[in-house]
């Protein structure tokens, strides 16, 4: 197998005295879609924050394309091709829809994604382009958050609970769009509460439990029972 595009080595993370991640090891290869599942508070968002540079690590804990990026700031990591669709969307309220998207393109990496490409993917955003981002519905806001991350033309895109709080139809729209997004050779980490959705889109899965990897493997090889144990820590 080729070298991994993203690799985590004994990754720890702390909030003050509290340790949220314990020695996470992960190798992700180009074009893979990897699901990260786990109960509330398992450390999924923390993992996303660590990879994207919002939480600093030691240099060798995170490698991107062979480069140690563990101590880089989030903006530096962004320029190297990692984009995060954060939990809870987190749009900029002072910016219009289009401005949110344009800001996502700030890193100026070359690639297929542009304002037009995002509008093609989510036509409703084009109609609302000059509206304040906070005036959109939850699902539309999620589309902006995804579009904003795509505008960076990242090599690795991280999705943190993109279906949280959305109606089933909207979730379906967004997940239907996902293959088109990832198909372009992008590598994706998908954090998802909805386990069957997660397994549907991914080829590999990691389950976190209290900051540790409790299960990992090819999606078609892990069984429901294994997941239940890994998820809750006890057999159901």
């Amino acid at each position: 197998m080729s070298d991994p595009i993203l690799s985590l080595t004994k990754l720890d993370a702390h909030y003050g005295d509290f340790q949220a991640l314990y020695g996470i090891d992960m190798d992700i290869h180009t074009g893979e879609v990897v699901a990260i599942i786990g109960a509330n508070g398992a450390g999924k968002s923390t993992l996303m924050r660590s990879i994207s540079g919002l939480i600093r690590n030691t240099p060798d804990q995170v490698h991107l394309n062979g480069e140690a990026i563990g101590t880089l700031r989030a903006d530096q990591v962004a320029y190297r091709g990692v984009a995060l669709v954060p939990e809870g969307r987190q749009l900029f309220p002072s910016l219009s829809v289009e401005e949110n998207l344009l800001l996502g393109g700030k890193v100026g990496r070359p690639g297929p994604w542009s304002l037009d490409a995002v509008y093609d993917l989510f036509p409703v955003l084009k109609e609302r382009r000059s509206q304040a981002s906070t005036s959109l519905s939850g699902g539309q806001q999620q589309m902006v958050a995804i579009g904003r991350a795509l505008m960076a033309n990242p090599e690795v895109i991280l999705f943190d609970e993109i279906s949280l709080g959305l109606a089933p139809v909207i979730i379906k729209t967004i997940y239907d769009a996902l293959p088109g997004i990832i198909g372009g050779g992008m590598t994706a980490l998908v954090v998802e509460q909805d386990i069957s959705k997660a397994l549907e889109v991914s080829s590999r899965v990691f389950c976190l439990q209290e900051g540790r990897v409790s299960l990992s493997g090819k999606t078609d090889h892990v069984t429901r029972d294994q997941i239940t144990v890994a998820y809750f820590g006890v057999a159901a």
Partner: protein, 288 residues
């Protein structure tokens, strides 16, 4: 009647200068929630830099501005990245006390370098030139100052809402972490905001120095005028800040007309009245 119209017109024009004092204060508060106690002393520093430049090169103060503005911007950037960025956070004490310390340092450095003697920038004929509007005559310099203030605020407004730089300012102001994820280095963005604010301060300092005499001790008073303009106008609204400056200026000239000792006091009273009646200022930022 015509006499009072003249007084009010003078006040309006004076308000332009106060809006220039306030614009930088308003900008940095908007971007990083920092209140810079040394702001007034930085205005005076700019006036002194203008003085040195005019003396060294024998140029007009307006020409000196070409040097003073970039120097002030540079000072702003270095100050922000070197010191002020370290003070930002949920606790309000560090920025307040650090800028307070800076204020004392700047004031005493100016005292050391230029002595306590009042100085003035001489701008030649423009200082006394005036234009007639009907039966009123207004000074060309106050008129020019007001025009500059309007132009500065219009440009800041345009920069804030229509350029990539302004987009970055607003994004960082909204959510620093997420802005960082978009490739914005907040330390750099804050540095740019302070650079811009101090460039405006540079303009204010030069115009102040031409208008009146100055000495190292008057910075605190200029900070207060700028602050009053910001609060009267409503936080986070640049045009409101201009309106706030104008209200303050008019209050002061009316006060001075009644009794010269009342000029500054009348301005403070206008501020307190606004604070009592409309605590959020007259034109608070509209939420969109």
């Amino acid at each position: 009647m015509i006499e009072w119209t003249g007084v009010i017109l003078q006040g309006v024009l004076l308000g332009g200068l106060y809006a220039l004092f306030a614009a930088g204060l308003s900008l940095i508060f908007g971007v990083m929630r920092l209140v810079n106690i040394a702001h007034g002393d930085l205005i005076i520093l700019a006036a002194y830099l203008g003085l040195s430049t005019t003396m060294m090169f024998g140029v007009h103060p307006f020409a000196a501005a070409l040097l003073v503005l970039p120097v002030m911007a540079g000072i702003g950037y270095v100050l922000q990245r070197g010191i002020l960025n370290q003070t930002l956070g949920p606790d309000i004490l560090p920025p307040l006390l650090v800028t307070f310390g800076l204020s004392v340092i700047i004031q005493n450095a100016l005292l050391e370098g230029y002595s306590a003697d009042p100085q003035k920038l001489s701008a030649g004929a423009i200082e006394t030139a005036s234009v007639s509007v009907g039966s009123l005559t207004v000074g060309l310099l106050p008129l020019l100052t007001f025009g500059v203030a309007v132009a500065v605020i219009a440009s800041l407004q345009w920069m804030f809402y229509s350029t990539a730089l302004g987009r970055g300012f607003r994004a960082v102001s909204d959510n620093q972490d997420i802005a960082q994820l978009m490739g914005l280095n907040k330390a750099h963005v804050f540095g740019l905001a302070m650079a811009l604010a101090l460039a405006v301060t540079g303009i204010a300092g030069i115009l102040l120095g031409i208008r009146t005499s100055f000495d190292p001790s008057i910075g605190g008073g200029r900070l207060i005028f700028g602050f009053e303009a910001v609060i009267i106008g409503g936080l986070g609204n640049l045009w409101g800040t201009l309106a706030g400056g104008v209200i303050l200026g008019v209050a002061q000239t009316i006060g001075a007309k009644i009794d010269p000792g009342w000029q500054v006091l009348a301005g403070h009273i206008a501020f307190l009245v606004v604070l009592a009646v409309r605590p959020n200022g007259l034109f608070p930022r509209v939420q969109h």
